[in-house]
Each structure stands twice: as C-alpha cells, then as structure tokens.
C-alpha cells in the first residue's frame, strides 16, 4: 500500500462525497455553510462504520494475542 494509492482512493471518495452533498443540498439555499455542514454529516456517515470496523478488528486482534 503506497501513499499514491491512498491519494487516489481518497480523491475518489472525496469526489463521491461532494456529489452526494450537492444533491442533498439542492433544495436548500446554497451557501458554503450549509454545504459544509451536509458534507460533514455525510462524511461522518462514511467514517463512523469504518472507524467502528477498525476498532472491532483491533479488539479481536489483541484478544487473540
């Protein structure tokens, strides 16, 4: 796993999140603030399960050790 791969992946994820935020925000007044807020919320929805999974994995890992 190289830095380059992480960059490509995060670029893709970022683009995806922006798309979703844009569509979620289309009925709102468009300001940077609301956009940022929605972006943050959607990002959290993505990050939370990932963090949860990593935590679970680490827990099992140390239990086995």
């Amino acid at each position: 796993m190289k830095i380059r791969h992480f960059l490509v992946a995060s670029l893709l994820i970022g683009m995806g999140l922006t798309c979703m935020t844009y569509s979620a925000n289309s009925f709102e007044r468009e300001t940077i603030m609301t956009f940022g807020k929605t972006f943050f919320q959607i990002g959290m929805m993505v990050i939370c399960p990932v963090v949860l999974l990593i935590c679970l994995y680490l827990m099992f890992y140390y239990k086995n050790k």
Binding site: G16, M20, S23
Partner: protein
C-alpha cells in the same frame, strides 16, 4: 502503477454487486417519489372537487362565475357538462375542444360514480382529470371535470431523478475508492508471496515472507517459508553429503594408490613388508566396498525406497542369531558377551532382516570400541513396549559429541576411526532403520566407563488386542 489481477477481479466483483444494489435502490426511491407526488395530487384534486360539487349544488345562477374564479385561483380547469356531454360552463376562456370527454365516462358519472385518469395532450403535457357527478335529490344532474396540469409534478420528479442519479454517482465513487483500498489490502500479501516465491525459484532460498496474519493467507505464507526452509536444509545437507562422500572415498583410494605404487616400483625390502602392504591394500578395498554398500543403503532409505517386509517378530531369536555372528570377533578381543532376556516379551511388528542389521551394527560398534570388559544385550518389556539395550564397558563417547553420532559420516576423533577403520555411516543407518519401523533410539555414555544404546519399539495395537483377547 502495477495492476494486480486478483485485486482487479475482487474490485470488479464488489463494484458489480454495488451497482446492482444501487440500481434497485434507485428504482425503489424513484417509484416512491412519483407515487408520493401522484397520491398527493390525487388527494388535493379530490378535495377541490368536492368543494366545487357542493358549490354547484347550491345556487345554479351565481355559482358559475364563482366556480370559474375559484378554479382560476386554484390553477385548475373546470368543465361542467350535462349528461350528453354538452358543456354548460368552463373556466378557461379558450374555445378549444375537450377530447378527454367521452360517453363512457359520462355514463359512469351519471350513474353516481366519480372517475379519474391521466390525460396526455398532443403537445405532450400530462393532466390529471377527475370527474365527479353533481347529485341533487339523489339524482345526478350534471357533472364536473377538474383538470389539473401535472407539469409541476413532472418537473419535480425529473429534478429528483437527476439528484438521485447524482447521489448514486457519488455513492459509486465512494464505493470505488473504498474498494480500491480494500482490494489493494487483500491482494497485497498475495503479490508479496508471488515475488518471494519467484526469488526462491531463482535459487535465493534465503528469501522469507514476512506475513503476520493468522488467516489462510498467513498460513499459506507460513507454508511457503517452511518449504523454503526445508529446501534450503535439503540443499545444504546434499552439498555436505557430496563433500563427505568424496572425502571418504579419497582416503582409501590414496592408500591403495600409494601402496600399490610402492609394490610396483619394487621398493619393498623383504617379503614380510610386501605382505603387510598387500594386507593394507586388501583392508582398504574391503573398507571401500563397505562404504559403497552403506552409502547405497542409506541413499535408498533417504529416498524412501527401502521395502520392509513387516511381520511378527520374535526378538529372542533375532538376538541369539546376531550374537552367534559376532561371537568370533568378541572372542578374539576377549570380551564377554552376555544376554539378559526377560520372559513375557511382547511381539512386535517389523522386518527381521533389518532388525538384525540394527543389532549387528550396534554390537559391532560395541566390540570395536571396547578394549576389555563385557557387552550386555538386554531385552525387557516396559509399559507394553519392547526395550532392547546394548551396553558395553568401552571407551565411551564424550557428552558434547552425543547429539551428532547419528549423523552421516560422523565419527569421534578422526584418529580413533583410523585405528578402527569405520566410516561413520553405521549409526545413521541404524537410526533410519529404527525410525522406519516406528521405534526410537536413545544413547547414554560416559567417557572411559561405557556406552548404552537403548531401542524402544511400541507394541502394535493389533497385536495388543490379539494378545489380550487370547
């Protein structure tokens, strides 16, 4: 960037799965939205229609204008018709026809039911048409058509659809990014294994995999490491083996060469010296013969090509047989041969010829490395296994050399073996033969006190059950 095929396959599988999910979900949401809007509009129109109908029922004269105003206000079109389809009044000023009015619907309405349908005009606009009878004194007198344009709803649905597509694209991109990372992580150890095995195939047996996972991948990596290790050991021992062989062969050959040279050049002074040289040549030839025989035996065993004829063995017979063979040698060295054979010795499974070979080797060693004293062969049964030991009162083996005496060509002090003429293969053959027959060998020794070799053979299960039943 190196594209790993397994990663690609994994990613493709994930993405296909994801697209299928996304499409079904999108369809569901799209349907949900259109049905929701449609239901909303139906409800609104229904409400509006009942207002209009109650208005139409009340005052015939004034209601016409009122209805028209009201219709304009709620941005719908109203068409008020009689039973045969004649328009009494209409809200829009245009004099166009009303192609959605037909007799069948009218009949329906005048029998007291309301109707609704979606009508599409020539320019492609969609309208929701609701028809309701105006009932007075339990009789349908006329009917109202309420026509509301669906333009707005269609526009909304179109926008929602676009936004749905956009968020689907977003979700797709997010999934793509995550799958990218995941496939990299999953295929990384495989690629590493491939690289390392490649290096191994090219002869670099020191290459090792460093995989700490505990799953199948980790196990595979561990297996690869083990394989490399055993191959490395194999290569090393083979090299050592060849070096040893050539060395072992060279020594007797130099003797043969030297002494035969002396004899051919007639450098001997008298007959007895000549005889001495000839004896040496003869001995070396015998040694060479034995060496070749042993090597052949050993290599056959290492390749697993020795065939054993397994049968029920009576160890007593074998011991007595072997002892009679070495009796002469022992007598020459004035060594006492003693046996201690207990009663009730269990039968074991094994190859009698090989068993004799084992015993012969051990006894020969004992006689060879004992100058005075006695040799005791003991046969006892212990925990239902057979224990055979050969002890002598000879020179013994230094403790630090004990672990190596079963190695090929291993001899204690090269000078010692020179005197006795050993090759160092005897014990390694013994060890192999014992292993082949499911036994174990163990040695105890003290320098200048004596040596004891102990063999243990477990009683075979079948024989055990046979014996206990009889």
């Amino acid at each position: 960037m190196r594209i790993s095929r397994i990663g690609l396959k994994l990613a493709a599988a994930f993405m296909i799965l994801f697209i299928i999910l996304l499409m079904t979900l999108g369809m569901a949401i799209d349907q949900l939205f259109s049905h929701f809007y449609y239901a909303q509009m139906k409800e609104d129109s229904q409400e509006l229609a009942s207002h209009f109908v109650s208005m139409a029922k009340n005052k015939e004269a004034t209601s016409t204008t009122m209805i028209q105003n009201f219709a304009e206000f709620s941005s719908v079109k109203i068409v008020w018709v009689t039973e045969n389809g004649q328009v009494i009044s209409r809200s829009d000023k245009s004099k166009g026809q009303h192609p959605f009015i037909n007799q069948k619907d009218l009949n329906h309405m005048f029998s007291g039911q309301s109707i609704d349908f979606i009508y599409k005009d020539t320019s492609g606009h969609r309208y929701y048409v609701l028809g309701k009878p105006v009932v007075k004194n339990q009789k349908s007198q006329s009917a109202l058509y309420i026509v509301s344009s669906m333009n707005k709803i269609d526009d909304s649905i179109r926008t929602v659809r676009k936004l749905l597509l956009l968020s689907a694209l977003g979700a797709f991109l997010v999934a793509l990014g995550m799958t990218f990372i995941m496939s990299k992580v999953l295929s990384h150890p495989l690629l590493k294994m491939q690289k390392v095995t490649d290096r191994m195939a090219k002869g670099d047996w020191n290459a090792r995999l460093n995989i700490r996972q505990k799953d199948e991948m980790g196990m595979l990596g561990q297996s690869i490491n083990n394989l490399a290790q055993s191959l490395q050991r194999y290569r090393d021992t083979r090299q050592e083996f060849f070096a040893n062989i050539s060395h072992e062969l060279r020594t007797p050959i130099t003797y043969l060469e030297g002494y035969s040279q002396v004899l051919t050049d007639n450098l001997v002074e008298n007959e007895s010296e000549k005889k001495k040289y000839l004896t040496i040549i003869h001995q070396e030839a015998i040694r060479l013969q034995k060496l070749v025989d042993d090597l052949f035996e050993l290599s056959k065993m290492e390749e697993g090509k020795t065939e054993l004829t397994i049968e029920r063995l009576d160890m007593k017979d074998i011991i007595l047989n072997t002892l009679s063979k070495v009796k002469l040698k022992a007598e020459q060295k004035k060594i006492n041969l003693k046996t201690e054979i207990h009663q009730d010795i269990p039968f074991i499974l094994g190859d009698s010829y090989r068993m004799e070979q084992i015993l012969l080797n051990l006894l020969e060693n004992a006689i060879k490395y004992t100058d005075q004293g006695e040799i005791i062969v003991q046969l006892v049964s212990e925990n239902s296994s057979l224990v055979l030991s050969v002890s002598d009162t000879g020179q013994g083996i230094p403790e630090e050399e004990l672990p190596y005496i079963f190695d090929r060509f291993y001899r204690i002090e090269k000078s010692r073996s020179r005197d006795y003429g050993g090759t160092g293969l005897g014990l390694s053959i013994v060890k192999k033969l014992v292993d082949l027959q499911g036994g174990s060998i163990h040695v105890e020794s003290k320098l200048d006190v004596g040596t004891t070799f102990t063999l243990t053979f477990p009683q075979h299960e079948e024989l055990e059950s046979l014996e206990s039943s009889s």
